[in-house]
């Protein structure tokens, strides 16, 4: 009901000029209204279809109250809009957080490049409560995470990573004055970041672990046979790492839930298979990511891995290179390890290591033979994966590794 005079506080609906179901153009007369001073035709502020008459002819309603509902045809709005006095502006309808793909946010890095922005208040609360914001969904405009959302999450007993008391005490013990001969090493930003990441992982992700032994004798022979031609053709060495990545990708296609992430009230199974490759550089560990690794051929993977390793060694990796990994492969065997208990990189659900290939006496067809054996280890997020899926995944990796032979 519009305000037809300065002191007017209510109006009476005289006559409806349109009935329910009629279309009405913008500014077309919609109804007649009478006040104690004046009678007027009221034009429609919107174009659309009159879907409901709220104030019937002869009723008196206060200024500002709804008189009818019009389904606007201009936009795609599925909900009917209410008739408002022409001078007031429509309140914007907040977007439902469900539709704004928590998928994107829960696995995206917290950089501005991804379009996810956390307000100063949100960051402060996250620090105070030691939260990983990537797992939270928001009710702010466009699905934005608000301070209230964070507080509500904390209040409902959400994920709070508190360091166990032992870890608190250790730094105190280490701070005890260094003795003669001890060296004190400054903690670099990188080491600090790695440390925080590791603590977060170990205190929030329940790790479980499994190991399989793969008989890669055939693979070793196959590689021996192929490696010269590969180098000549592709310009890079054929190492075992890209081969393992191919097998891991194949197994992930079979068991997609290993390529997932825990998001509190749901598990997000990632469509893209972005394999993080652990690379050792002097200051520590970096994990550049091969995006859509399953779409690359063996030579493509080999080249991409070499490229990333070179960039890592040259300290030229970008944030883009290191973000949005969905699973990690670590070549711990390169340094002689035969079993490792790797730490999962949040928000991923698994990490795989390829251990050293060692010649061992092995039982084949009830006889002893010397075979090349490579252990493959898997740490898994036990919230996302149970032993059976994890084991079957590992078996799949093992079987793929064992299909290679000198003849294939």
């Amino acid at each position: 009901m519009p305000q037809l005079g300065e002191t007017v506080t209510e109006g009476t609906v005289g006559r409806w000029l349109k009935k329910v179901g009629d279309t009405v153009a913008k500014y077309e007369p919609l109804l007649e209204v009478e006040t104690d001073k004046v009678a007027s035709e009221i034009p429609s502020p919107f174009a659309g279809t009159l879907t409901k008459i709220v104030a019937e002819e002869g009723t008196t309603v206060p200024v500002g109250s709804a008189v009818c509902e019009i389904s606007e045809t201009v936009t795609d709005a599925s909900a009917p809009r209410q008739e408002q006095p022409a001078t007031t502006s429509m309140p914007p309808t907040p977007s439902a957080p469900e539709r704004v793909a928590p998928v994107d946010r829960s696995t995206a890095a917290t950089t501005a490049a991804d379009g996810v922005r956390y307000s100063p208040a949100v960051r402060k609360l996250a620090r105070e409560h030691r939260l990983d914001l990537r797992n939270l969904s928001g009710t702010g405009r466009g699905g934005r995470l608000t301070a209230k959302d964070v507080l509500q999450h904390v209040g409902s007993g959400g994920q709070v990573a508190t360091a166990p008391p032992a870890q608190q005490r250790q730094p105190a013990a280490a701070v005890a004055a260094p003795e003669d001969g001890d060296t004190s090493m400054r903690v670099t930003q990188m080491r600090k970041t790695i440390a925080e990441h590791m603590v977060l992982s170990k205190t929030t992700i329940p790790h479980a672990w499994s190991l399989v032994e793969a008989d890669v004798t055939g693979l070793v022979r196959w590689r021996e046979r192929e490696k010269e031609a590969f180098k000549a053709r592709e310009g890079v060495n054929l190492t075992f790492l890209p081969i393992v990545v191919v097998c891991v990708c194949g197994a992930l296609r079979e068991f997609p839930t290993v390529n997932a992430t825990w998001a509190g009230d749901r598990i997000i199974v990632r469509k893209h298979i972005n394999v993080g490759i652990a690379v050792d550089i002097e200051e520590g560990l970096v994990v550049p990511v091969v995006r859509d690794a399953d779409q690359l051929s063996l030579s493509g993977l080999a080249r991409k891995i070499v490229d990333l390793v070179e960039k890592a060694r040259a300290r030229k990796l970008t944030m883009e290179d290191m973000s949005d990994g969905t699973i990690t492969v670590d070549n711990t065997g390169a340094l002689g390890s035969i079993a490792s208990y790797p730490i999962i990189s949040p928000p991923q659900a698994a990490i795989i290591t390829m251990e050293a290939i060692v010649k061992r006496p092995w039982v084949i067809n009830d006889a002893i033979a010397i075979r090349s054996i490579m252990n493959v280890c898997l740490s898994l997020d036990h919230r996302v994966l149970d032993g059976s899926v994890a084991s079957r995944f590992l078996q799949s990796v093992k079987q793929r590794l064992e299909t290679y032979s000198a003849q294939s």
Binding site: T87, R123, G140
Partner: protein
């Protein structure tokens, strides 16, 4: 408790102070026989005499300049500028002289002067009777500025201003003169300069405002409460000194700040309030600071549509509050 309009409260403050303190006198255009263009000083000439209710020529620089001299000499002048739009000729006397007296005399002299003037739009005052001038003065150290919006604050702050040892620019929003009524205590009371008022307690966002806009903001907040948004409204009451603590406490609590003033946006009071919040409460903010202000045009127009387009309405303030709450 009496229920009075802002206009009656201004009158009563001056009347009671003139009765209490013989040094207090009024000078300005049409304050004598005419009793002020809004009839605020009607009857004062008859009661207090020609030496205490002085009609001046149409000469604002002199109105203030003479008052400065009287104040330094020990009087308590209330200099009236008939409409804030006419204050510009007096700018030098206010800023170059009155505001600097204490400082330049190392405290040897003070200037206990009150400059009262009606400001703001809403009465179809157009180019020469609608301006807001606080932004031109609030930058100046040595000057105090009051901008009450309610009868109790108008009376209490004017009493404080008259009793203050230093020059006070007392801004009365002309639209509130008759529109706003409220309860005012009987007897002698004052409201401290430099203290804001929490006009409405809330949790979801803070609206920081003054003048007529305080009433629109409260109206918008009441409407928003029916939609589940609980807004806090802070009425600054004094522009200088500004109550930083109340502003910061409120924004720390609600994490969202909306500044509303009728005055043009660029360089208005909102700019300083934003800077204070950003400097001292950045990590409490959950959304960018927002301002709803008059547009950056020289004046509001005479046509009703132009005046309405200039002055923030409670709908426009409410829309901004809604958006901020949903951010």
């Amino acid at each position: 408790m009496a229920v009075k309009t802002v206009l009656e409260s201004v009158r009563d403050a001056m009347h009671s102070e003139m009765v209490r303190d013989p040094r207090v006198f009024i000078m300005g255009e049409d304050v004598g026989p005419r009793g002020n263009v809004f009839l605020i000083t009607k009857g004062f000439l008859e009661e207090f005499g020609r030496e205490r209710v002085i009609d001046t020529p149409l000469a604002e620089a002199s109105i203030v300049g003479v008052a400065v001299g009287a104040a330094i000499a020990g009087m308590r002048p209330i200099a009236e500028i008939q409409f804030a739009d006419f204050i510009y000729p007096a700018y030098n006397q206010i800023v170059g002289e009155a505001a600097k007296i204490r400082y330049r005399s190392a405290g040897g002299n003070t200037c206990p002067l009150v400059i009262r003037t009606p400001y703001g739009g809403g009465v179809r005052g157009a180019l020469s009777h609608s301006v807001s001038v606080e932004a031109l003065f609030y930058h100046v150290p040595g000057l105090k500025i009051c901008a009450p919006s309610t009868p109790v604050d108008a009376q209490g702050l004017l009493v404080s201003a008259i009793r203050d040892e230093d020059p006070v620019l007392f801004l009365e929003h002309k639209r509130t003169y008759r529109l706003i009524k409220g309860e005012v205590p009987e007897g002698d009371f004052s409201v401290p300069i430099g203290k804001a008022d929490v006009a409405r307690v809330g949790t979801d966002l803070s609206v920081i405002t003054y003048g007529l806009m305080r009433h629109y903001a409260v109206e918008a907040a009441e409407k928003l409460a029916t939609e589940g948004v609980n807004a806090e409204v802070i009425d600054l009451r004094s522009i200088r000194p500004m109550d930083r603590q109340t502003i910061l406490d409120s924004v720390t609590k609600t994490r969202r700040a909306l500044i509303v003033h009728e005055d043009q946006k660029f360089g208005g009071i909102g700019a300083e309030v934003s800077a204070i919040i950003a400097e001292e409460a950045l990590f409490e903010l959950d959304a960018p600071i927002r301002r709803v202000c008059g547009p950056d045009v020289p004046s509001m127009g005479y046509a009703k549509e132009y005046e309405e387009a200039f002055m923030p309405s409670s709908e426009r303030i409410g829309a901004a509050m809604r958006e901020l709450a949903a951010y």
